[in-house]
């Protein structure tokens, strides 16, 4: 059984937002209107957070691409009163929009704030309805949703491999939408339990770290620290 994970190389991320848009498109996440943004209700399964510190000219800017980190010990799943969110057999933290009753407790307990609530019915006005993807269901209002690490792509690839008589996927055979479009190739997806997989190689690198590791959530999405020319 694979244990899916991801690495995001901050050295290769330019904050261009391609992953954010590709994710929205792939997963039928509606765009945020100005009012949504103003109220803090945009939905971004993948987003790039930024923080600026220091004084001119000694400034530092952190850019953090932040999908759901798919914790190995997810704090969100255990607080759900109806088991609408759970870690599945391949390690992905999934959210069932059909089971969810909308208590938003999981969102409260997610230290990364990467769970999103449908404050209203998702809207695809006019001809925008045409570009909705058939792969992913559009969630109704009143339920939570979040990054699935493109589990639908994984499942489709597994079905395909099965049809071809293979039991497991090859490394790199399946990529989430964010990784697919990334101009810097900053995002790597794969099986963390496969020691030869590119993703586990990167996750073992000394540059790898996990956000808020001190909370013991054990994310399966690793970030790789930035370096500068001439560093080690």
């Amino acid at each position: 059984m694979p244990r899916w994970g991801m690495t995001i190389d901050l050295d290769r991320c330019s904050g261009c937002q391609a992953c954010v848009v590709a994710c929205k498109q792939e997963n039928n996440v509606p765009f945020a209107t100005a009012e949504d943004l103003d109220a803090g209700r945009g939905i971004y399964w993948m987003q790039v957070l930024a923080r600026v510190e220091g004084e001119w000219p000694h400034v530092r800017m952190e850019t953090m691409p932040m999908p759901c980190l798919h914790c190995d010990d997810p704090p969100c799943t255990k607080v759900c009163p109806v088991d609408a969110t759970h870690k599945d057999s391949e390690g992905l933290v999934q959210q069932s929009s059909a089971r969810c009753i909308g208590t938003r407790y999981c969102a409260q307990n997610c230290p990364y704030t990467v769970r999103f609530f449908n404050w209203k019915k998702p809207e695809f006005p006019g001809a925008f309805a045409n570009y909705r993807s058939p792969e992913v269901a559009i969630r109704p209002k009143g339920v939570m949703e979040k990054c699935t690490l493109c589990a639908h792509r994984v499942k489709d690839a597994q079905d395909r491999a099965h049809r071809e008589g293979r039991r497991a996927l090859r490394d790199g055979e399946v990529t989430p939408a964010c990784a697919e479009v990334c101009p810097g190739r900053a995002i790597t997806f794969g099986d963390l339990d496969d020691p030869g997989a590119r993703v586990s190689e990167l996750a073992r690198s000394p540059r790898a770290f996990r956000f808020l590791e001190e909370l013991g959530t054990a994310p399966k999405v690793f970030h790789l620290r930035e370096t500068r020319h001439g560093d080690g």
Binding site: H86, D88, S89, E90, L92, Q94, S96, S97, A98, R99, E135, V136, A137, I138, R139, T148, A151, H152, K155, D156, D159, H162, R163
Partner: protein, 159 residues
């Protein structure tokens, strides 16, 4: 009364009607039992795709243009009734929008069509064989998945 129930379920977003008057009076039995046609000949996606696919009237005409002129006229009438850009069939099988079933994956796993679609192939007027809805249907699916050691992860079907 069955119709009332079906419509109630449809209105509640629970599913499609169990049977309906089709624009074209298609007879499964003639094709499948008498002519020994395979399901995949008309439902072309079942072996390779998630969707099964419904034949267009053009697909029908590939055979009917030569042989059965009477039926070809019925086809034309049906096509006209359905209007352009719409396939001329009333769907009988529908599951909740948050669930997806891959036909190809099931066929590959050796699930025969009859497991879910019953005797549709032998019917004169097609009707839905599977009367389960909502969670009832889900547990029926899950029983079979458990039996066959298929994945029981929610995301297998709910995506």
């Amino acid at each position: 009364m069955a119709r009332v129930a079906a419509l109630a379920l449809a209105l509640a977003g629970c599913g499609a009607p169990a049977d309906a008057e089709q624009p074209i009076p298609f007879n499964h039995a003639v094709h499948v039992v008498e002519r020994k046609m395979a399901c995949v000949e008309c439902h072309e996606g079942v072996l390779t795709q998630a969707w099964a696919g419904m034949p267009s009237t053009d697909d029908c005409l590939r055979c009917h243009a030569f042989a059965f002129t009477g039926n070809a006229r019925a086809l034309e009438a049906g096509k006209k009734a359905a209007g352009p850009d719409r396939d001329p069939w009333v769907r009988l099988y529908a599951i909740a929008p948050h669930a997806q079933v891959s036909h190809a994956a099931h066929v590959k796993a050796g699930v025969v069509c009859e497991k879910c679609h019953g005797d549709t192939g032998k019917s004169v007027v097609a009707r839905r064989e599977l009367m389960l809805e909502g969670e009832g249907l889900m547990y029926w699916c899950m029983d079979c998945h458990a039996e066959r050691k298929a994945s029981l992860d929610c995301v297998t079907c709910h995506r």
